[in-house]
Subunit: 206 residues, 2 copies
DNA sequence: TGGGAAGCTGGAAGAAAATACAGTCACCCA
DNA sequence: TGGGTGACTGTATTTTCTTCCAGCTTCCCA
Protein backbone atom coordinates (compact mmCIF):
# COMPACT_ATOMS: atom_id res chain seq x y z
CA UNK A 1 0.00 0.00 0.00
CA UNK A 2 1.37 3.38 -0.94
CA UNK A 3 2.08 5.78 1.87
CA UNK A 4 -1.24 7.39 2.84
CA UNK A 5 -0.37 10.93 1.82
CA UNK A 6 -2.23 13.55 3.85
CA UNK A 7 -5.35 15.13 2.37
CA UNK A 8 -3.66 18.47 3.02
CA UNK A 9 -0.18 18.08 1.54
CA UNK A 10 0.84 21.40 3.04
CA UNK A 11 0.47 19.91 6.53
CA UNK A 12 3.80 18.07 6.58
CA UNK A 13 5.88 20.88 5.13
CA UNK A 14 8.67 22.62 6.98
CA UNK A 15 8.05 26.29 7.85
CA UNK A 16 10.46 27.36 5.15
CA UNK A 17 8.80 25.15 2.57
CA UNK A 18 5.45 26.57 3.55
CA UNK A 19 6.84 30.06 2.94
CA UNK A 20 7.97 29.04 -0.52
CA UNK A 21 4.59 27.45 -1.26
CA UNK A 22 2.75 30.56 -0.07
CA UNK A 23 4.95 32.65 -2.34
CA UNK A 24 4.14 30.44 -5.32
CA UNK A 25 0.43 30.60 -4.49
CA UNK A 26 0.61 34.36 -4.22
CA UNK A 27 2.34 34.69 -7.56
CA UNK A 28 -0.24 32.44 -9.18
CA UNK A 29 -3.19 34.45 -7.90
CA UNK A 30 -1.70 37.94 -8.03
CA UNK A 31 0.61 37.71 -11.02
CA UNK A 32 -1.18 35.06 -13.00
CA UNK A 33 1.90 32.92 -13.57
CA UNK A 34 4.13 30.80 -11.34
CA UNK A 35 7.60 32.18 -10.48
CA UNK A 36 10.91 31.06 -11.93
CA UNK A 37 13.80 29.79 -9.79
CA UNK A 38 15.51 33.14 -10.04
CA UNK A 39 12.37 34.99 -8.98
CA UNK A 40 12.14 32.79 -5.91
CA UNK A 41 15.79 33.60 -5.19
CA UNK A 42 15.12 37.31 -5.51
CA UNK A 43 12.10 37.11 -3.23
CA UNK A 44 13.90 35.17 -0.48
CA UNK A 45 17.39 36.54 -0.92
CA UNK A 46 18.97 33.32 -2.17
CA UNK A 47 22.27 33.65 -3.96
CA UNK A 48 21.91 30.42 -5.91
CA UNK A 49 19.11 29.20 -8.14
CA UNK A 50 19.73 25.78 -6.72
CA UNK A 51 18.36 26.87 -3.35
CA UNK A 52 15.03 27.40 -5.08
CA UNK A 53 15.47 24.19 -7.06
CA UNK A 54 15.96 22.18 -3.86
CA UNK A 55 12.83 23.64 -2.31
CA UNK A 56 10.77 22.95 -5.40
CA UNK A 57 12.02 19.36 -5.49
CA UNK A 58 11.06 18.94 -1.84
CA UNK A 59 7.63 20.47 -2.40
CA UNK A 60 7.05 18.26 -5.43
CA UNK A 61 8.11 15.14 -3.53
CA UNK A 62 5.63 15.97 -0.80
CA UNK A 63 2.88 16.53 -3.33
CA UNK A 64 2.44 20.21 -2.57
CA UNK A 65 3.23 21.25 -6.14
CA UNK A 66 3.53 19.62 -9.56
CA UNK A 67 6.37 20.37 -11.92
CA UNK A 68 6.47 20.13 -15.68
CA UNK A 69 10.01 19.07 -16.57
CA UNK A 70 11.81 21.40 -18.93
CA UNK A 71 9.11 24.02 -19.10
CA UNK A 72 9.74 27.60 -18.09
CA UNK A 73 7.57 28.40 -15.08
CA UNK A 74 6.49 24.80 -15.01
CA UNK A 75 5.15 24.92 -11.47
CA UNK A 76 1.53 23.95 -11.01
CA UNK A 77 -0.69 23.37 -8.01
CA UNK A 78 -1.98 19.81 -7.69
CA UNK A 79 -5.51 20.61 -6.59
CA UNK A 80 -7.46 22.85 -8.92
CA UNK A 81 -7.61 26.13 -6.99
CA UNK A 82 -10.90 26.08 -5.18
CA UNK A 83 -12.80 24.60 -2.33
CA UNK A 84 -14.17 21.06 -2.16
CA UNK A 85 -17.91 20.81 -1.71
CA UNK A 86 -18.91 18.28 0.90
CA UNK A 87 -22.29 16.58 0.69
CA UNK A 88 -25.29 17.72 2.66
CA UNK A 89 -25.17 17.77 6.42
CA UNK A 90 -28.12 17.52 8.75
CA UNK A 91 -28.93 20.96 10.05
CA UNK A 92 -32.46 19.97 11.03
CA UNK A 93 -32.70 17.27 13.64
CA UNK A 94 -29.32 15.72 12.99
CA UNK A 95 -29.38 13.18 10.20
CA UNK A 96 -26.65 11.02 8.80
CA UNK A 97 -23.93 13.08 7.18
CA UNK A 98 -21.72 11.82 4.39
CA UNK A 99 -18.20 13.18 4.12
CA UNK A 100 -18.38 12.76 0.42
CA UNK A 101 -16.84 15.31 -1.85
CA UNK A 102 -19.28 16.37 -4.55
CA UNK A 103 -16.98 18.58 -6.50
CA UNK A 104 -15.05 21.79 -6.33
CA UNK A 105 -16.01 25.42 -6.63
CA UNK A 106 -13.53 28.02 -7.89
CA UNK A 107 -13.50 30.13 -4.74
CA UNK A 108 -10.34 31.34 -3.02
CA UNK A 109 -10.02 30.00 0.55
CA UNK A 110 -8.61 33.39 1.54
CA UNK A 111 -11.94 35.00 0.71
CA UNK A 112 -12.85 34.07 4.27
CA UNK A 113 -11.11 34.72 7.52
CA UNK A 114 -9.89 32.48 8.95
CA UNK A 115 -9.25 30.64 5.70
CA UNK A 116 -11.97 28.25 4.56
CA UNK A 117 -10.99 24.61 4.05
CA UNK A 118 -14.17 23.29 2.48
CA UNK A 119 -17.80 24.06 1.69
CA UNK A 120 -20.56 22.15 3.41
CA UNK A 121 -24.06 22.03 2.01
CA UNK A 122 -26.76 22.65 4.60
CA UNK A 123 -29.87 20.51 4.85
CA UNK A 124 -32.76 21.79 6.92
CA UNK A 125 -33.72 25.10 8.42
CA UNK A 126 -32.62 24.78 12.02
CA UNK A 127 -30.29 27.79 11.60
CA UNK A 128 -32.64 30.02 9.65
CA UNK A 129 -32.55 32.63 12.42
CA UNK A 130 -29.02 33.61 11.40
CA UNK A 131 -29.71 33.47 7.71
CA UNK A 132 -28.50 29.94 7.08
CA UNK A 133 -31.07 28.28 4.86
CA UNK A 134 -31.63 24.86 3.35
CA UNK A 135 -29.23 24.28 0.46
CA UNK A 136 -26.76 27.01 1.42
CA UNK A 137 -23.07 26.28 1.21
CA UNK A 138 -21.19 27.01 4.41
CA UNK A 139 -17.51 27.91 4.27
CA UNK A 140 -15.87 25.90 7.04
CA UNK A 141 -12.48 26.43 8.66
CA UNK A 142 -11.11 23.13 9.88
CA UNK A 143 -10.31 23.38 13.59
CA UNK A 144 -11.12 21.67 16.87
CA UNK A 145 -11.00 24.91 18.83
CA UNK A 146 -14.23 26.85 19.18
CA UNK A 147 -15.41 29.43 21.67
CA UNK A 148 -18.84 29.53 23.20
CA UNK A 149 -21.27 31.38 20.94
CA UNK A 150 -19.60 30.46 17.69
CA UNK A 151 -21.37 28.53 14.95
CA UNK A 152 -19.65 25.22 14.47
CA UNK A 153 -19.78 22.05 12.46
CA UNK A 154 -19.98 19.34 15.12
CA UNK A 155 -20.05 15.58 15.06
CA UNK A 156 -22.12 13.60 17.56
CA UNK A 157 -21.58 9.90 17.07
CA UNK A 158 -21.90 9.51 13.32
CA UNK A 159 -24.08 12.53 12.81
CA UNK A 160 -22.81 15.89 11.64
CA UNK A 161 -24.72 19.05 12.45
CA UNK A 162 -24.34 22.81 12.26
CA UNK A 163 -25.25 24.62 15.46
CA UNK A 164 -24.24 27.42 17.75
CA UNK A 165 -21.91 26.14 20.47
CA UNK A 166 -22.90 27.06 24.02
CA UNK A 167 -20.78 26.22 27.04
CA UNK A 168 -22.41 26.69 30.45
CA UNK A 169 -19.82 25.64 32.95
CA UNK A 170 -19.19 22.00 32.27
CA UNK A 171 -22.36 21.59 30.25
CA UNK A 172 -22.09 21.83 26.46
CA UNK A 173 -25.13 22.61 24.36
CA UNK A 174 -25.72 22.85 20.62
CA UNK A 175 -28.28 25.57 19.99
CA UNK A 176 -30.40 25.83 16.88
CA UNK A 177 -31.36 29.26 15.60
CA UNK A 178 -35.00 28.43 15.06
CA UNK A 179 -37.65 28.27 17.79
CA UNK A 180 -38.97 25.02 16.35
CA UNK A 181 -35.77 23.20 17.29
CA UNK A 182 -34.83 22.40 20.88
CA UNK A 183 -31.24 22.74 22.12
CA UNK A 184 -29.21 19.55 22.11
CA UNK A 185 -27.52 18.83 25.44
CA UNK A 186 -24.29 17.01 24.79
CA UNK A 187 -23.45 14.07 27.00
CA UNK A 188 -21.85 11.71 24.52
CA UNK A 189 -18.62 12.38 22.65
CA UNK A 190 -18.59 15.69 20.79
CA UNK A 191 -16.09 16.43 18.05
CA UNK A 192 -15.75 19.93 16.67
CA UNK A 193 -15.17 19.49 12.95
CA UNK A 194 -14.78 23.15 12.13
CA UNK A 195 -15.83 26.74 12.42
CA UNK A 196 -18.37 28.29 10.07
CA UNK A 197 -16.62 31.29 8.53
CA UNK A 198 -18.84 32.15 5.60
CA UNK A 199 -21.82 31.36 3.48
CA UNK A 200 -22.52 31.09 -0.23
CA UNK A 201 -25.93 30.88 -1.80
CA UNK A 202 -26.34 30.71 -5.52
CA UNK A 203 -26.86 28.72 -8.66
CA UNK A 204 -30.33 30.11 -9.21
CA UNK A 205 -32.19 33.41 -8.82
CA UNK A 206 -33.29 33.93 -5.24
CA UNK B 1 -8.33 62.83 -25.52
CA UNK B 2 -7.16 59.26 -26.06
CA UNK B 3 -9.56 56.96 -27.83
CA UNK B 4 -12.17 55.88 -25.29
CA UNK B 5 -11.16 52.24 -25.12
CA UNK B 6 -14.12 49.94 -24.48
CA UNK B 7 -14.76 48.73 -20.93
CA UNK B 8 -14.75 45.22 -22.37
CA UNK B 9 -11.56 45.08 -24.43
CA UNK B 10 -12.53 41.71 -25.88
CA UNK B 11 -15.40 43.36 -27.73
CA UNK B 12 -13.35 44.76 -30.60
CA UNK B 13 -11.26 41.66 -31.26
CA UNK B 14 -11.29 39.69 -34.47
CA UNK B 15 -12.71 36.16 -34.23
CA UNK B 16 -9.24 34.70 -34.53
CA UNK B 17 -7.90 36.98 -31.82
CA UNK B 18 -10.79 35.98 -29.60
CA UNK B 19 -9.84 32.35 -30.13
CA UNK B 20 -6.29 33.09 -29.08
CA UNK B 21 -7.50 35.01 -26.03
CA UNK B 22 -9.83 32.18 -25.04
CA UNK B 23 -6.94 29.76 -25.34
CA UNK B 24 -4.80 31.93 -23.07
CA UNK B 25 -7.64 32.23 -20.57
CA UNK B 26 -8.12 28.48 -20.62
CA UNK B 27 -4.45 27.82 -20.02
CA UNK B 28 -4.44 30.27 -17.14
CA UNK B 29 -7.38 28.66 -15.37
CA UNK B 30 -6.75 25.01 -16.28
CA UNK B 31 -2.99 24.85 -16.43
CA UNK B 32 -2.18 27.61 -13.98
CA UNK B 33 0.30 29.38 -16.24
CA UNK B 34 0.00 31.33 -19.49
CA UNK B 35 1.20 29.60 -22.71
CA UNK B 36 4.42 30.29 -24.59
CA UNK B 37 4.51 31.31 -28.26
CA UNK B 38 5.37 27.79 -29.26
CA UNK B 39 2.51 26.34 -27.24
CA UNK B 40 0.11 28.67 -29.02
CA UNK B 41 1.59 27.49 -32.32
CA UNK B 42 1.08 23.88 -31.36
CA UNK B 43 -2.51 24.52 -30.29
CA UNK B 44 -3.47 26.33 -33.49
CA UNK B 45 -1.20 24.57 -35.93
CA UNK B 46 1.05 27.54 -36.67
CA UNK B 47 4.40 26.75 -38.19
CA UNK B 48 6.11 29.92 -36.96
CA UNK B 49 6.32 31.37 -33.47
CA UNK B 50 5.88 34.75 -35.09
CA UNK B 51 2.26 33.95 -35.91
CA UNK B 52 1.66 33.74 -32.17
CA UNK B 53 3.81 36.80 -31.57
CA UNK B 54 1.74 38.85 -34.00
CA UNK B 55 -1.49 37.83 -32.29
CA UNK B 56 -0.11 38.62 -28.86
CA UNK B 57 1.03 42.03 -30.05
CA UNK B 58 -2.42 42.72 -31.47
CA UNK B 59 -4.12 41.57 -28.27
CA UNK B 60 -1.80 43.70 -26.16
CA UNK B 61 -2.39 46.75 -28.37
CA UNK B 62 -6.12 46.32 -27.91
CA UNK B 63 -5.72 45.98 -24.16
CA UNK B 64 -6.99 42.41 -24.01
CA UNK B 65 -3.76 41.14 -22.46
CA UNK B 66 -0.66 42.58 -20.79
CA UNK B 67 2.83 41.41 -21.65
CA UNK B 68 5.96 41.47 -19.54
CA UNK B 69 8.85 42.03 -21.93
CA UNK B 70 11.57 39.44 -21.84
CA UNK B 71 9.88 37.14 -19.38
CA UNK B 72 9.03 33.57 -20.26
CA UNK B 73 5.26 33.16 -20.23
CA UNK B 74 4.94 36.87 -19.60
CA UNK B 75 1.29 37.06 -20.61
CA UNK B 76 -1.11 38.44 -18.02
CA UNK B 77 -4.77 39.39 -18.05
CA UNK B 78 -5.44 43.10 -17.45
CA UNK B 79 -8.44 42.84 -15.16
CA UNK B 80 -7.95 40.63 -12.14
CA UNK B 81 -10.63 38.01 -12.68
CA UNK B 82 -13.32 38.71 -10.15
CA UNK B 83 -16.40 40.68 -9.30
CA UNK B 84 -16.50 44.36 -8.32
CA UNK B 85 -17.88 45.08 -4.88
CA UNK B 86 -20.37 47.96 -4.84
CA UNK B 87 -20.85 50.00 -1.69
CA UNK B 88 -23.66 49.43 0.74
CA UNK B 89 -27.25 49.71 -0.40
CA UNK B 90 -30.24 50.52 1.76
CA UNK B 91 -32.11 47.33 2.55
CA UNK B 92 -33.85 48.86 5.57
CA UNK B 93 -36.15 51.74 4.83
CA UNK B 94 -34.42 52.85 1.67
CA UNK B 95 -31.44 55.13 2.26
CA UNK B 96 -29.11 56.82 -0.17
CA UNK B 97 -27.13 54.30 -2.18
CA UNK B 98 -23.71 55.04 -3.62
CA UNK B 99 -22.67 53.28 -6.79
CA UNK B 100 -19.12 53.32 -5.63
CA UNK B 101 -16.84 50.41 -6.29
CA UNK B 102 -15.01 49.36 -3.15
CA UNK B 103 -12.79 46.74 -4.64
CA UNK B 104 -12.83 43.35 -6.26
CA UNK B 105 -13.25 39.84 -4.94
CA UNK B 106 -11.73 36.85 -6.73
CA UNK B 107 -14.99 35.07 -7.47
CA UNK B 108 -15.96 33.65 -10.83
CA UNK B 109 -19.12 35.27 -12.23
CA UNK B 110 -20.14 31.84 -13.52
CA UNK B 111 -20.43 30.59 -9.97
CA UNK B 112 -23.95 31.95 -10.14
CA UNK B 113 -26.70 31.40 -12.65
CA UNK B 114 -27.47 33.60 -14.41
CA UNK B 115 -23.97 35.02 -14.30
CA UNK B 116 -23.26 37.63 -11.61
CA UNK B 117 -22.09 41.07 -12.74
CA UNK B 118 -21.26 42.61 -9.38
CA UNK B 119 -21.53 42.20 -5.64
CA UNK B 120 -23.68 44.57 -3.63
CA UNK B 121 -23.26 44.97 0.11
CA UNK B 122 -26.53 44.92 2.03
CA UNK B 123 -27.33 47.41 4.75
CA UNK B 124 -30.23 46.68 7.09
CA UNK B 125 -32.34 43.65 7.85
CA UNK B 126 -35.45 44.17 5.77
CA UNK B 127 -34.80 40.89 3.92
CA UNK B 128 -33.81 38.78 6.91
CA UNK B 129 -36.76 36.45 6.30
CA UNK B 130 -34.99 34.96 3.30
CA UNK B 131 -31.61 34.84 4.96
CA UNK B 132 -30.24 38.14 3.65
CA UNK B 133 -28.60 39.88 6.58
CA UNK B 134 -26.88 43.19 7.22
CA UNK B 135 -23.41 43.21 5.67
CA UNK B 136 -24.02 40.31 3.28
CA UNK B 137 -22.74 40.57 -0.27
CA UNK B 138 -25.40 39.93 -2.88
CA UNK B 139 -24.42 38.60 -6.26
CA UNK B 140 -26.40 40.65 -8.78
CA UNK B 141 -27.12 39.87 -12.41
CA UNK B 142 -27.56 43.07 -14.33
CA UNK B 143 -30.92 43.09 -16.11
CA UNK B 144 -34.08 45.17 -16.36
CA UNK B 145 -36.29 42.13 -16.75
CA UNK B 146 -37.72 40.61 -13.60
CA UNK B 147 -40.70 38.42 -12.93
CA UNK B 148 -43.09 38.85 -10.06
CA UNK B 149 -41.80 37.10 -6.95
CA UNK B 150 -38.11 37.53 -7.73
CA UNK B 151 -35.74 39.40 -5.47
CA UNK B 152 -34.43 42.43 -7.27
CA UNK B 153 -32.16 45.41 -6.87
CA UNK B 154 -34.41 48.35 -7.64
CA UNK B 155 -33.94 52.09 -7.87
CA UNK B 156 -36.63 54.50 -6.74
CA UNK B 157 -35.59 58.08 -7.45
CA UNK B 158 -32.03 58.14 -6.15
CA UNK B 159 -32.48 55.35 -3.66
CA UNK B 160 -31.44 51.77 -4.28
CA UNK B 161 -33.07 48.94 -2.39
CA UNK B 162 -33.24 45.16 -2.38
CA UNK B 163 -36.78 43.78 -2.22
CA UNK B 164 -39.05 41.10 -3.59
CA UNK B 165 -40.88 42.33 -6.68
CA UNK B 166 -44.64 41.86 -6.61
CA UNK B 167 -46.87 42.72 -9.55
CA UNK B 168 -50.63 42.74 -8.89
CA UNK B 169 -52.22 43.67 -12.18
CA UNK B 170 -50.99 47.16 -12.90
CA UNK B 171 -49.84 47.76 -9.34
CA UNK B 172 -46.18 47.15 -8.54
CA UNK B 173 -45.04 46.53 -4.96
CA UNK B 174 -41.64 46.03 -3.37
CA UNK B 175 -42.06 43.58 -0.51
CA UNK B 176 -39.66 43.30 2.41
CA UNK B 177 -39.10 39.90 3.97
CA UNK B 178 -39.43 41.11 7.54
CA UNK B 179 -42.74 41.79 9.33
CA UNK B 180 -41.33 45.06 10.71
CA UNK B 181 -41.18 46.57 7.23
CA UNK B 182 -44.27 47.55 5.26
CA UNK B 183 -44.54 46.90 1.51
CA UNK B 184 -43.63 49.83 -0.72
CA UNK B 185 -46.27 50.63 -3.32
CA UNK B 186 -44.56 52.02 -6.38
CA UNK B 187 -46.12 55.01 -8.04
CA UNK B 188 -43.03 56.98 -9.09
CA UNK B 189 -40.46 55.77 -11.61
CA UNK B 190 -39.07 52.31 -10.83
CA UNK B 191 -35.88 51.04 -12.40
CA UNK B 192 -34.88 47.42 -12.05
CA UNK B 193 -31.10 47.43 -11.62
CA UNK B 194 -30.65 43.70 -11.45
CA UNK B 195 -31.64 40.30 -10.22
CA UNK B 196 -30.26 38.84 -7.00
CA UNK B 197 -28.68 35.53 -7.99
CA UNK B 198 -26.57 34.68 -4.97
CA UNK B 199 -25.21 35.61 -1.61
CA UNK B 200 -21.82 35.61 0.04
CA UNK B 201 -21.21 36.08 3.73
CA UNK B 202 -17.72 35.99 5.14
CA UNK B 203 -14.62 37.73 6.32
CA UNK B 204 -15.17 36.73 9.94
CA UNK B 205 -16.44 33.73 11.93
CA UNK B 206 -20.23 33.67 12.03
C1' DT C 1 -6.35 49.50 -58.11
C1' DG C 2 -3.78 49.99 -54.66
C1' DG C 3 -2.78 50.04 -49.99
C1' DG C 4 -3.41 48.82 -45.35
C1' DA C 5 -4.60 45.11 -41.96
C1' DA C 6 -5.08 40.38 -40.61
C1' DG C 7 -2.95 36.20 -40.63
C1' DC C 8 0.39 33.64 -41.60
C1' DT C 9 5.79 31.04 -43.17
C1' DG C 10 10.76 30.52 -42.29
C1' DG C 11 14.86 31.45 -39.96
C1' DA C 12 17.84 32.97 -36.44
C1' DA C 13 20.01 35.61 -32.34
C1' DG C 14 20.19 36.15 -27.72
C1' DA C 15 18.09 36.37 -23.27
C1' DA C 16 15.70 33.70 -19.76
C1' DA C 17 14.96 29.58 -17.39
C1' DA C 18 15.63 24.79 -15.95
C1' DT C 19 18.70 21.76 -14.10
C1' DA C 20 22.92 19.10 -13.02
C1' DC C 21 27.18 18.76 -10.09
C1' DA C 22 30.05 19.72 -6.19
C1' DG C 23 30.26 21.53 -1.96
C1' DT C 24 29.19 23.93 3.13
C1' DC C 25 26.81 24.42 7.59
C1' DA C 26 23.53 23.37 11.22
C1' DC C 27 20.45 20.32 13.44
C1' DC C 28 18.21 16.23 15.04
C1' DC C 29 18.37 11.53 16.17
C1' DA C 30 19.83 6.74 17.07
C1' DT D 1 29.72 10.05 16.85
C1' DG D 2 28.21 9.23 13.13
C1' DG D 3 24.48 9.82 9.44
C1' DG D 4 20.53 11.69 7.38
C1' DT D 5 17.97 15.93 6.32
C1' DG D 6 17.07 20.79 5.55
C1' DA D 7 18.83 24.86 3.84
C1' DC D 8 21.70 26.84 1.45
C1' DT D 9 26.43 28.78 -2.02
C1' DG D 10 28.74 28.67 -6.55
C1' DT D 11 29.41 27.27 -11.18
C1' DA D 12 28.16 25.41 -15.50
C1' DT D 13 25.39 23.48 -19.28
C1' DT D 14 21.53 22.90 -21.95
C1' DT D 15 17.01 23.87 -23.21
C1' DT D 16 13.20 26.92 -23.67
C1' DC D 17 11.42 31.32 -24.89
C1' DT D 18 11.18 35.77 -26.52
C1' DT D 19 11.93 38.65 -30.10
C1' DC D 20 13.56 40.39 -34.40
C1' DC D 21 14.03 40.18 -39.51
C1' DA D 22 12.21 39.47 -44.17
C1' DG D 23 8.74 37.86 -46.75
C1' DC D 24 3.81 35.97 -48.58
C1' DT D 25 -1.38 35.73 -49.24
C1' DT D 26 -6.06 37.24 -48.74
C1' DC D 27 -9.53 40.37 -47.86
C1' DC D 28 -11.63 44.76 -47.31
C1' DC D 29 -12.22 49.42 -48.48
C1' DA D 30 -11.42 54.14 -50.15
Amino acid sequence: MPSPRSVHPQDDLTPRQREILDFIRNRLTVGGAPPTRLEICAAFGFASPNAAEDHLRALAKKGAILMTAGAARGIRLPAPPGLPVIGAVAAGSPLLAVENQRGTLPIAPELFSPRADYLLQVRGNSMSGVGILDGDLLAVHRTVEARSGQIVVARLEDEVTVKRLQRRGSRVELMAENPEYAPIVVNGPLVIEGLVVGLIRGGRPL
